[in-house]
């Protein structure tokens, strides 16, 4: 029996570090708790109304009044009697938290729902029969409680794991499939978040515009018109408020819908010009829905501000793309065998090369890590995402200079962000130009080569390959280490092997040829864990003067074990 060995255990985090982390997580949980309590109290009040008694009521009065609120200028006024003829009481509350409607049409919809003389059901507080409402508050914000709850969970969980005694050996068996499924969930939330904004900001207005193309043109009279100002701590935004009346099939209606894109935005002068065109008492043409004549609009065309509504589309695209990408990666990771530290590579059986002998590696057509089109789409999405966000602030900054009240600090602050945005646009142009590069078709003896084995390829360019002045083909091995720094995830790379298969400036040799190389037997095989990887790849570099170079990488798996005989291509 031989020597005895002992190895020290893993170094624990310092107490000071743990206290610091705990304070951070408690702060996190505290914010979540505060929001949770605030939201919870409001929802509890709404939920309590579900215990109120239902009572038949009769509408005595129902009309739209113009209020003083800038955000909700049209108020639905209602009066109803409830509790029967004997002890009938009068109620005037439509909904407990109703303060008014942002458009006349919304308030008018309530008048249509509760017309004078109609019998309806109202809700009566059992503790105070004099307290009644026509409708109770909705509980739809209930799912939003999950957001502060998540903060609380992360905060308390963080404190628990900060002080939890670590197990002797990290029991975190790498599970790429689980990690990627979680990633898919994240991207799904991202997409839903984008869709949540895309629907009201673009799809609904666009749908309204399409519907309105068949509406009837009717003369209308402007009752009132003004630019409404909505001010808060972030500044002021403005909205158009034009109230008009029209007659359709002998009946008079009113509406305040100028166009389908609602809400308010910065920039008063443009809205003021529109309001100036529609002064009270003037005549205009509005478009009326023949199936619902109470629905009308003055401007039924697409407007430039609708393009802002497309910004959430970037979130949807990134979310959907990420979701399916992660799901596919999870499926692949989940289907791997016991040696799950070995990566998998793309490739298809070659149709133009001789298959290997039985039991040996079969030649394959290599597929690059990403196609030129995928690179272009990726660049466009990133550029759209970045520039979409930056453009909002640039618009504000430029607007401030035009108005003569320049936001100097903001303008200077935006310079590096704009520079990155321009760089991304250059990247889009570069990727687009690279689409027209000669295309490479490359067949390899196998995408799976053992250490010490011979890796041979056959290649052929299509397109204008005479533009390529030099062709360099290398087999490269590199380390990839991914780590978190604060909230950022960074990957460092270090190349440990660079073996040249071909380096030529000879045009016929560039156009097509063969090459082979032995994988160093004492090197490291491919390795694929969640954060650390050994990556082998075939790297193609075709230099083209004054044009994007041909740059392709084809992942190769180098396996452990003895080298066998590889079939030459």
């Amino acid at each position: 029996m031989g020597a005895t060995f002992s190895v020290g255990s893993r170094q624990p985090a310092t107490v000071v570090g743990r206290i610091g982390l705990s304070v951070f997580f408690l702060f996190f949980a505290g914010i979540g708790s505060f929001v949770l309590i605030f939201l919870g109290r409001e929802l509890l009040k709404s939920a309590q109304m579900y215990r109120w008694l239902r009572s038949e009521c009769t509408i005595l009065e129902s009309l739209v009044e113009k209020g003083t609120s800038s955000g909700n200028p049209y108020v639905f006024r209602v009066k109803y009697v409830y509790g029967g003829d004997v002890e009938g009481r009068t109620g005037t509350i439509y909904r407990r938290q109703y303060r008014g409607s942002s458009t006349y049409d919304d308030a008018a919809a309530l008048v249509r729902k509760y017309p004078v003389g109609a019998r309806s059901m109202c809700l009566v507080n059992p503790a105070d029969p004099g307290d009644a409402v026509l409708e109770r508050e909705s509980l739809w914000p209930l799912p939003f409680l999950l957001i502060p709850l998540l903060f609380v969970g992360i905060g308390l969980g963080g404190v628990y794991f900060t002080w939890k005694k670590p197990s002797a050996r990290a029991a975190s068996v790498p599970s790429p499939a689980r990690g990627r499924n979680m990633g898919a969930g994240f991207f799904l939330v991202f997409a839903l978040f984008g869709a949540g904004f895309l629907i009201p900001l673009f799809i609904m207005p666009a749908w309204g515009i399409l519907r309105a193309q068949n509406w009837k043109a009717v003369p209308c009279t402007i009752i009132s018109s003004q630019v409404r100002t909505h001010s808060d701590s972030d500044g002021s935004t403005y909205s158009i408020d034009i109230l008009y009346r029209y007659v359709y099939e002998g009946k008079e209606y009113q509406s305040s819908r100028y166009k389908f894109m609602g809400g308010s935005s910065s920039g008063r002068s443009g809205k003021q010009k529109i309001v100036d065109r529609y002064r009270p008492g003037t005549k205009a043409t509005c478009y009326v829905n023949p199936d619902a004549p109470y629905e009308a609009v003055i401007d039924r065309g697409f407007t430039a501000d609708m393009l802002f509504g497309l910004i959430p589309l970037v979130f949807v695209a990134v979310g959907v793309g990420g979701f399916f990408g992660m799901r596919r990666a999870a499926k692949k990771a989940g289907s791997r065998g016991s040696a799950d530290w070995l990566p998998q590579v793309k490739g298809e059986a070659a149709m133009t090369v001789t298959p290997g002998r039985a039991g040996q590696a079969v030649p394959v057509i290599l597929k690059p890590g990403s196609s030129p089109l995928a690179k272009l789409i990726g660049m466009i999405l990133i550029a759209l995402f970045w520039n979409g966000i930056v453009s909002v602030f640039v618009t504000i900054a430029v607007g401030s200079w035009i108005k003569g009240k320049p936001e100097v600090c903001m303008s200077i602050f935006m310079i590096p962000f704009v520079a990155v945005g321009i760089g991304l646009l250059v990247g889009v142009v570069y990727s687009f130009m690279a689409m027209f590069n000669p295309r490479l078709r490359i067949a390899a003896s196998s995408t799976t080569i053992p250490l010490g084995g011979t890796f041979s390829i056959g290649y052929q360019f299509s397109g204008r390959c005479e533009r390529i002045s030099r062709l360099l083909i290398t087999l490269e091995g590199r380390e990839e280490a991914t780590y978190r720094r604060g909230t950022d995830t960074t990957t460092d790379r270090s190349t440990f092997a660079k073996i040249v298969l071909l380096d030529t400036t000879d045009p016929p040799r560039i156009a097509q040829g063969k090459a082979a190389v032995q994988v160093p037997p004492e090197s490291m095989h491919s390795f694929n864990a969640s954060h650390n990887k050994i990556v082998w790849s075939l790297v193609i570099l075709g230099e083209i003067s004054r044009w994007p170079d041909v740059k392709e990488q084809y992942p190769i798996v180098v396996t452990p074990g003895p080298a066998g005989q590889e079939e030459a291509v």
């Binding site: 020597a3 040696a339 978190r484 440990f496 004492e522 490291m524 650390n532 074990g561």
Partner: protein, 121 residues
Amino acid sequence: MSELMISLQEGRTGFRPGETVGGTVSWSVAGPPASAALTLGWETRGKGDTDSDIVNKILFDQPRAVDERAFSITLPEGPYSFSGRLISLIWSLELEVGEHTRRLEIVVSPTGREVELKSVS
């Protein structure tokens, strides 16, 4: 006072993939432990966040306060022990007796030595 030991045959710490690692583990703790186990696994060290995997675990039945057991574990085909500029992959045997642990690092590679990866430009 507790004492845990992992002893390998012939005192070797370098092994080839697929080879069988044999030896004994012994311990002396205050009272009969709730459990005793020997695990074989690897973990990464270096710049990246840690990845690890347990590839084999031997549970020792009815462990006594002072005990000695023989073991034999067959190593898998990989991954090899290696050390590069960013990443090192370390294989180890770890003895867990109750709350006490002892760990022994080993090398798994065709040569019995760690594969060294040097950076190239």
